[in-house]
Symmetry: C2
Amino acid sequence: MITVFAPDGAGEVAAGTDLADLVLRTVAADEHGPLLDGDVVVLTSKVLSKAAGLTRPGSDREAAVDEQTVRTVARRGPTRIVRTRHGLTLAAAGVDASNVAAGTVLVLPADPDAEAAALLAALTARTGLALAVVVSDTAGRAWREGQTDQAIGAAGLRVLLRYAGRQDDYGNDLKVTAMAVADEVAGAADLVKGKLAGRPVAVVRGLGHLVEPAGGPDGTARALVRDPELDMFSHGAREAVLLAALTATGQAARYEQVLALNEPDRTAAVLAGTAPDGEPLGAQAVALVRALLAADLR
Amino acid sequence: MITVFAPDGAGEVAAGTDLADLVLRTVAADEHGPLLDGDVVVLTSKVLSKAAGLTRPGSDREAAVDEQTVRTVARRGPTRIVRTRHGLTLAAAGVDASNVAAGTVLVLPADPDAEAAALLAALTARTGLALAVVVSDTAGRAWREGQTDQAIGAAGLRVLLRYAGRQDDYGNDLKVTAMAVADEVAGAADLVKGKLAGRPVAVVRGLGHLVEPAGGPDGTARALVRDPELDMFSHGAREAVLLAALTATGQAARYEQVLALNEPDRTAAVLAGTAPDGEPLGAQAVALVRALLAADLR
């Protein structure tokens, strides 16, 4: 059995707020407190960012997104999904304008795993308990409506429970190769914290068998990021075609710039390019590129 | 607060097993039983399929995958991710060779929402309680390692908690538009059930405010399937380029057939095609297609 509870009373978090103190104070005041051996403390990235002073003026929002972005994964209308410097795939690079002072935005911490480890060290020092910390963030998914919380930072928790070496009779990998424990923990915490209630901390109790304070290769949220070499969804369907067309016409470096255009202008920009040999595109190749970009990828 | 528990004692499920009886019997025998008003009963799709007799000979595995498949989303080596007739995006269409009799596979129920509704009706008739049912299945995700459980069927639960009409100062949609409640419920249940323990049922207690026996537009798991029109990841990056190249050369109907080839053979097959005007591809266009298919989409 697991129990998940989210204490009230966190109050406003500002630059410099002691988060270990916030966790211990709010959990102790809850009817299910204080913390016990084996508890997993789940904290929203939002309060980490606030405590670290990662607020930016709203007018710098696009610059903040760019700063966090390695490449654009997909873009449609106002929605821009990017791969962040953390390896996360997030709308607007996780730059967040909700539940912050008007006219400001928050950016994600540079290293959420390190922040989780620091908070875990502070909690351990003050309680002597074997605990774990998960830093959660809300994210959309491919193929599915709605958002779930996922783990973007972790310390002291086995984030993946691997079922190694199991294959079916056909030599295919088993359907389940590793349970993404930390993401399911973040989601369970979300069910209790909600989005509007001002409860940035939740405790998941009953997973002590997965709490490993010493950590290990699966002891940080970074282990949940798929290796780009193995990622079949590195780009949205349209964006993959655009990048391929640009690459084929010697313009791969213009990917981000072209993607920022509206869709008719994107096509025109590609058609203005030249073939890999430096010659202008012939009429047949132009027709081909046009068809590529117009292809209905549903 | 929520509590999640997974009773022991389910025993073997076979064609014809009464699942309402299984749920009531195992929950009643658990220290946290019996069921209470507002409980959400989470059941793996595997036991639904077993009870419905959806076992196939292992030799029919590929045929079973094909039968469940609307189109291939991505394919690499032995991994084939498809969109199923349910609208789900799943490796091997959810056809499952684990925890089943040797030499057999299980296919997903044709209508998991209807199965959830039938089970809910049976549980309600026998208890008089306001309950909800979620049918869970394990799935990989784009961009992230490991699998989580998600809801592929639901009845009596508000599967999406919408935050409608909230926009930031820039007119962009709020980062969170709808919490995918049922997927987070399935994930929380997975944390307790595990994969190997023979506990196919879990109860999530404490979400009574989201239990709505009458249902509504967000009362089935189908509401969690993104409209294909809005899906930016309808195809893997390489598959999108392949489909576009085939479309541009008048061979879109050959997409599945070409995708089943190994990668060098795929390229050759495309290059054997003709341009949209029926003329053979010129040398420049062939070079373009070759570059498109070779484009490094990382």
